[in-house]
């Protein structure tokens, strides 16, 4: 299952090990884990998503990465709902015969998840709530690929 969208917390290390155990012929595994940072007194993050669309969109990115980078396998886990500071938001794992492909594919997946997967983050702080604005740099990052 190349992608999972879930409210529940996940164990990044256990997921990485399960991912690695299912591989044959990989020489390189890259994982990326995104964590809620407590900058500016942030209390929690609320992540909204588009249930009908999210999983298919993420799976399409995984398929694109797999085709483009000679991957052995790839995995995306992305949470929604309320997340406390320090919790893992999402993770990407990529496996390839060679490390260049594994690194590039993880970077590629992160760029697409940031700007094209239907998730929206709201920051909940001591003085109120605010939707996170998309950054031009995230959009620009897509032109790298």
């Amino acid at each position: 299952m190349p992608a999972r969208i879930q409210q529940a917390a996940f164990d990044a290390g256990a997921e990485a090990n399960a991912f690695a155990a299912g591989l044959a012929g990989a020489g390189a595994i890259v994982t990326f884990t995104g964590i809620v940072r407590g900058d500016g007194g942030l209390l929690a993050l609320e992540i909204e998503h588009y249930p009908g669309m999210t999983l298919r969109a993420v799976e399409a990115f995984v398929d694109a990465a797999t085709l483009r980078f000679s991957l052995t396998d790839a995995l995306v886990i992305h949470r929604h709902g309320r997340l406390a500071v320090g919790e893992a938001i999402m993770m990407v794992a990529t496996a390839a015969p060679h490390r260049g492909d594994a690194f590039a594919a993880a970077d590629f997946l992160m760029d697409w998840l940031k700007s094209r997967a239907p998730f929206w983050k709201k920051e909940i702080g001591p003085s109120g709530e605010a939707w996170v604005a998309a950054r031009d740099s995230d959009e620009d990052a897509l032109t790298r690929w």
């Binding site: 995104g34 992540i47 909204e48 998503h49 588009y50 009908g52 669309m53 298919r56 969109a57 992305h78 938001i89 999402m90 992160m110 998840l113 940031k114 700007s115 094209r116 997967a117 239907p118 998730f119 929206w120 983050k121 709201k122 939707w131 996170v132 604005a133 998309a134 995230d138 959009e139």
Partner: protein
């Protein structure tokens, strides 16, 4: 009948997660023009279309996308996942 969905601050401004709309709109842009007449929240939500993204039947689309045969249109701000 088209199911219209709203996410993030569009949902909050409009005060709805979804609504069913009876429309003859030919394109997303035409639909937006109709939706803006539904009230102040709708009008405000669509005031700056540069800040709005759209998906047609759960695929990202442009505002000139045709609506013929379409069942679901979703409006939301630029995505901020990852």
């Amino acid at each position: 009948m088209i199911d219209v969905l709203y996410f993030a601050w569009l949902r909050e401004r409009i005060g709805l997660r979804r609504e069913s709309v009876e429309t003859q709109a030919a394109t997303v842009a035409d639909l937006v023009a109709e939706l803006r007449t539904r009230g102040e929240g709708h009008d405000l939500a669509f005031a700056d279309l540069a800040a709005v993204r759209v998906a047609v039947d759960q695929e990202l689309a442009a505002f000139d996308a045709p609506l013929r045969g379409v069942r679901e249109v979703a409006f939301f701000p630029p995505m901020t996942g990852g």
